[in-house]
Symmetry: C2
Subunit: 545 residues, 2 copies
Amino acid sequence: MLGLMQDWPLLSYKIIDHAAIHHGTRKVISRSVEGPIHTTTYADIRARSLKVAKRLDQEGIRLGDRVATLAWNTWRHLEAWYGILGIGAVYHTVNPRLFPDQIAWIVNHAEDRIMITDLTFVPILEKIASKLATIERYVILTDGAHMPQTSLKNAIAYEDWIGSVDGDFEWRFFDENTAAGMCYTSGTTGNPKGVLYSHRSNVLHSLVASAPDMLGISSRDVVLPVVPMFHANGWSLALTTPMMGATMVMPGAKLDGASIYELLNDFKVTVTAAVPTVWLMLLQFLESSGSKLPYLKKVVIGGSACPRAMTQKFQDNYGVEVMHAWGMTEMSPLGTVCTLKPDYADLSGEARLDIQQKQGHAPFGVEMKITDDHGREVPWDGKTFGRLKVRGPSVARAYFKEAESAIDKDGFFDTGDVATMDPHGYMQITDRSKDVIKSGGEWISSIDLENLAVGHPKVAEAAVIGVPHPKWDERPLLVVVLKKEQTATKDEILAFMQGKIAKWWMPDDVVFVDEIPHTATGKIQKMTLRDQFKGYILPTAEAAE
Amino acid sequence: MLGLMQDWPLLSYKIIDHAAIHHGTRKVISRSVEGPIHTTTYADIRARSLKVAKRLDQEGIRLGDRVATLAWNTWRHLEAWYGILGIGAVYHTVNPRLFPDQIAWIVNHAEDRIMITDLTFVPILEKIASKLATIERYVILTDGAHMPQTSLKNAIAYEDWIGSVDGDFEWRFFDENTAAGMCYTSGTTGNPKGVLYSHRSNVLHSLVASAPDMLGISSRDVVLPVVPMFHANGWSLALTTPMMGATMVMPGAKLDGASIYELLNDFKVTVTAAVPTVWLMLLQFLESSGSKLPYLKKVVIGGSACPRAMTQKFQDNYGVEVMHAWGMTEMSPLGTVCTLKPDYADLSGEARLDIQQKQGHAPFGVEMKITDDHGREVPWDGKTFGRLKVRGPSVARAYFKEAESAIDKDGFFDTGDVATMDPHGYMQITDRSKDVIKSGGEWISSIDLENLAVGHPKVAEAAVIGVPHPKWDERPLLVVVLKKEQTATKDEILAFMQGKIAKWWMPDDVVFVDEIPHTATGKIQKMTLRDQFKGYILPTAEAAE
C-alpha cells in the first residue's frame, strides 16, 4: 500500500524559487572578475536565471545536454547554474587549475555544447578551442563594455546574451532523477571520471548539509564560499545557502588572504568554507596585519586534512570554530563534518583538538563502513583501520560513459580511503587504500609514518611506500628529503621514530633523495615514487631469503 | 538523461538505524505510565524495535497492514513505531481524547489488525471492544507484573510479547512511497478522514523540520515532545529527534505543569513542544511555585494560536525563545515556524511580539499561496487575506478510502484556513474559511472580531458568525457570554469595538447567551451556533428590505 502524499519531485531549481519567494531581498554580494563589488538579491538572481533558461532553450539546449562553466564564484555563475537546472540541462563545472589538455579531454568527453566562462579564462580557452569540437558557443561572464576581442566561436558577453530575452519563462518539469550537474574527478591514475549528480541527490544533499550538526546554516548567516563552484560540486554551497536563505558573499577570482579578509570583514561573514591552503594565506595575512575576525563564527575546512595548528589558531587566536570536513566529488560532496556531539562537547584544550583532527561524523543519509581485505567489517574502536565505504542517495553509483558499476553488491562505494571509526561514529582518514602498506596481513598507514618522519628537525619532506618483501608481502620504505644544508643517517631517523609507533611499523629502510614527485595540485605522486623504486631490495628482504 | 547517483530509498526506519549507529548511547528518558522514570538509549530502542518487527511478522502482519497505537509518549511507543515501520506496516496513532464511538469508527475504518495501547486506555477499549471487529490482539505497553485482568482479545503485556522473540531480524526493503503512518483528522463536519503518510514524506519532513530556521535541533539538544505522538503525526518529533541524535525526554501520561516542570528541570531539556493549553498549565505552575527555567532555550507552540501574553511571559520572565508554529495533520504536520529572519531579527519589544504573533514562514518543501474566491492569488502585503493553499512532498493528496482527490488541478491542498502573507513570507491565520464572513465580496475575519470582543472587561467568551443579509450576502453577528454577575447592552459592546476595526467590520447585532457550544477538544462549534441562529433576522436586514 502506498502513502497518499503529494507527488512533488525534488527539483534543484525549487531552491532558487524558495529563496526568491521567502528570502527575496536577501543579498548576494560578489567581487566581480572585472573588479568592483557587485550586489544583487535572490529575487533578481532567479529573475535572471529565467532569462538564462529561456536563452538556452532558444539555442536548442535540451534535457540532458551539458553546459560547461569554467568560472569563479560570482552571481553570474550562480544564475547560470539555476538557468541550466531550470531546463533540465546539466551544469558541468570545469576546474581551470587542470592542465589545458585535461580541460580539453574533459569537455570533449562530456560533449559540452556551450561554454560559459570568465574573462580570466579566455586566453586558456583560445589556446585549446580548436580541440573543443562540441562547443557551439562561448558565453563570457561579463558585459559588452568589458568584452574582449576573441577568436572564440560565437563568443558573446553574458549580459548581451541574456539581455536579448525577457524572463517570461517557466521552469521545465521532469523526473527528480534527471541529471543536474557534472563534475570530473582527477584521479591519480587513468583519465578523469565524470560524476553525474541528479536533481534528487542535489536537493537531499542540501537538506542534509544544512542540519545543525553539519554546516548549520540559518537565514541569519552570511556565507562566503571560498571553495570554488568547480571544486566537488562547490561543496553544495551554491544550493544549500539559498535553500536556507542566508546572505551569500562570492569571492570572484581573488582568493588571497587580504582579499578574503576584506570580504569577511566588510560583509560580516559568519560562515566560510575552503581548503587549508586558503586558510594558510588568510592566517598569514591576519598575523602580519594584526587583524581580527570579529564576525566570523565558523570555518569549514576540507579538501585535505586540516593541520592541528590551523585549528588551534582559528579557535584560540580568533575565536572561530573550526569544522573539519571530509567528502568526495562522488559524494556531492559531503561525507562528514567534525562538529562536537554531546559525548565530546565538553572537551577542551588538547583533548578537544584530538577529536577535531578527525574528519567528523556522517549525517543521516550517509552510511559508512570500514572493511578489511576480505570485505569484512572491522570494529569502530578508533584504532582499527579499514577501507572506507559509503552508501546514500547523494553518492555515485557509476561514472559517466563507464559501463562498469562503481558500487559493490551491497550498494557501497569504495572511497579509496583507509580510515578508523570511533565508537561515537567519528571517522579519521589514515591513508589512501592504494598507499597503505600490507605487511603480513596487517595494514600500516604510510601517512602516519610520514607525519612522524617530518617531525624530525632535519627532515623537509617524507614519503613512505610499500616495497615487496618475500616474507611479509610488503614492508615500508621511508623516502626522505632533508632540509637544506643538512645531513643525516638512516639510524638517526629511525632512532627518532623508535618508541613512537608499534615496532612492526618501523620502516625497513630509509633512502635520502633530492626531490619527491608531486601532482599539479601539490600531492605526493606515490605511483611515480613506486615506479622509481621498482625492484628495490630491502636489506631485510635479503636477510629473509 | 538520468543522474548516476545511488538508489537509496527514503525509508523511515533508516532514522533509528542512524540514531543507533551514530548516537547509540544517547538517552531516551520517559516517565513510564506505571510511574517511575525509565532510561534507555537509541541503540536499545532499535534493538527492541527489531523484536517488535519480528513479532509482528510472526503474527502475520504484512506490508500495508495497519497497527493501531492508542498510547502516551514513552520509549515503548517509540519502539512500536519503528518496529511497525521496519516491516512496512502502518502505525496508526489513535487519539484517546476522542469520544469512544469515534475511536471505534476510526479503528474500523482503518481496519487495524493489532491494537497497541497503554494501561490507561484498557477500560475505554474494554467498553468498545465488541465493536472493534478487525482487531486480532491487544498489546498492553507494560510488563507482566503490571498486566491487568482484562477481557480484551488475546491481550498480552508488551514485554512478554517482544520477550518471546530474539532481535535477529532485518528491516524489510520496499519502495519509499510505501505507506508508513496514519492519522485521522477530526473535522467539524462529517466523519474523520485518514491521512496516510509515506516513508518518503516522513523522511523529507524530518530533514526539513530540523533546519536551523525551523526547529533547529542538534545532537546537543535535549528534546521533550509534550505533544503526543497521536497529535498530527506527533509533530514529527519521534522522527526528527532521533534523526538529529538529540536526547529525548518523553512525558508519559502526565502533562500537568508540575510534572512537565520536573522533566524540564531534572533532565535539562533545551527544546520542547506542545499546544498552548499545556504551556498555560506550566506557566501557572512556575508562577505559583516561583520556579525558573534555566536550561530551556526554545518552546515550540502550535495546535492553536499562541496568545501574545504567553510569548511575552516565556521570553521576558523565563528567557525562553518562543517559536510559534502552524501545521496540519495533512502536512505531516509542519507548515510554518516563526523564527526570525534577518529582516526581523533586530526587532524588540512590541514590534518583535507583533511578528511572533504570526504563525511564521515555510521551509523549503512547503509551497504556499493565498487566493480569493475565484482562485486568484492575492498579494503578500500582510493585510490582504485569502484561502491558504499548500503544496509539497509531505502534504496529503487524498484521504484513505476516499475516491476524490484532496488537491486542486495545480496540486495545491486547501488548508481551510484564511491567512495573510507578508512580504517576507510570514503567514498569519486570520480565520477558518468556512467561518469568515463574506460581506459584499469582501471578507471579514470572525476571529479578529472575537479577539476584540473578549477584550471587553465584561465579556467571558465571544463567537462571531455570518448571518444572511439581503444586501451584503452576509453580515457578522456577535454572540456573547458575559462574565458571572455582569450585565451589558449591545451598544456598550459595540462602542468598545468602535475605532479598533474598519467600520464595515462592525457586527450588525449582538446577542447575549448563557453558553457557546464547544467540541470535545474545546473549540467553538460554529456550525452548531449557525444552526442555532438559523433564520435570525439582523436589524440591518429588516432595514434593507
